[in-house]
Symmetry: C2
Subunit: 203 residues, 2 copies
């Protein structure tokens, strides 16, 4: 029939990412993607090693896209402005591309992780903190906090955690960014003088 559809890794990964946004990342399947191209499943194995490889490539693509958006958002901004813009990239990306965002959460092998845009994300978060005045161990703690908030909020929102309760999610997000800005200015100096004994370890 339609001989030579013209499959390439790039086309497959792109289509796979789109598919993820439509039906959910965990429902992206070699068979489904093959059907989308009007081709048999086996044909994809010439371009992609298999299901895992496909998913990994979609994850890497998503990380790159998000990093590019982040870089664009940070260009020419600093301080709270940069913080808000970067935060909006996360939220916006997760909203517009739920499947890609889910893909970006896929645990990667150390090699893939190192080759991914992950380090760029970390570097950008660090760059945002240049606008605040944090000495070194704290800067890393702050990077981790920001990463947690951005990811945690986007993830919870995606799962609908805020969908059916009172204040609109966008409003909370704006207020949270405000709060983070305040926090980064008032970041508590290194170890508090209270070495309080941790009391319990349940279960």
């Amino acid at each position: 029939m339609a001989a030579r559809v013209g499959l390439t890794v790039e086309r497959l990964v792109r289509a796979g990412a789109d598919l993820a946004d439509e039906v959910g990342f965990d429902r992206v399947t070699v068979a489904l993607l093959a059907r989308h191209f009007g081709v048999r499943s086996a044909s994809l194995y010439a371009h992609v090693k298999g299901s895992d490889d496909l998913r990994t490539r979609i994850a890497l693509l998503s990380l790159e896209e998000m990093a590019d958006l982040g870089a664009a958002a940070l260009a020419g901004r600093a301080g709270k402005d940069a913080l808000a813009a970067f935060a909006e990239v996360y939220r916006g990306y997760a909203e517009r591309h739920p499947g890609r965002y889910a893909a970006a959460q896929l645990p990667l092998s150390p090699e893939d992780a190192a080759a991914s845009a992950g380090p760029r994300h970390a570097a950008m978060t660090r760059a945002i903190l240049r606008g605040y005045d944090l000495p070194e161990p704290d800067r890393t703690h702050a990077v981790r906090l920001l990463g947690s908030v951005f990811h945690g909020y986007a993830d919870l929102e995606l799962k609908g955690a805020f969908r059916h309760s009172a204040p609109d999610s966008r409003e909370s997000w704006a207020r949270i960014v405000d709060a983070l800005d305040v926090l980064l200015r008032a970041w508590p100096a290194s170890p508090a003088p209270t070495p309080a004994p941790i009391t319990r370890e349940p279960s």
Copy 2:
């Protein structure tokens, strides 16, 4: 052969949760669970509606367990003490029970969500905030922030995001809890009653 193994929903769900902790939540399968009991897959369908039902029940169990631990941790504590204890429940649970923690992230149907321990989690987070002095819309924003940080941090740590970099994750976690305490005390007042025009809407 071994007639009547004595399957029940509870035993299946419990074993499924343990299995999730061993092999990962997404690798929990009806077939695997059946093998674990030395039984054919079809036999499980008398107790559980299917794969989705099984997963959902594991998710609900995990949410309950976490809520119980949270309640125990909060008993008799207030303020920063309560905050730190609750935070530790999240981190500790995710660390000891990665599969269950992943299960707890499963998106639930509205009915299941309402019947789950999810609302208890929200109520406990709200209770923590009683130790701080936040007026009402802000309290909800703060609940969402805390939820995001707790979940985001646990999730990232589980995926190994902090595993191969400088300061130990536990240290960051302690410092982040400190920072959240500071933030909740210095929470920025709501924006002026003047509905300031939103400046820009990118994209």
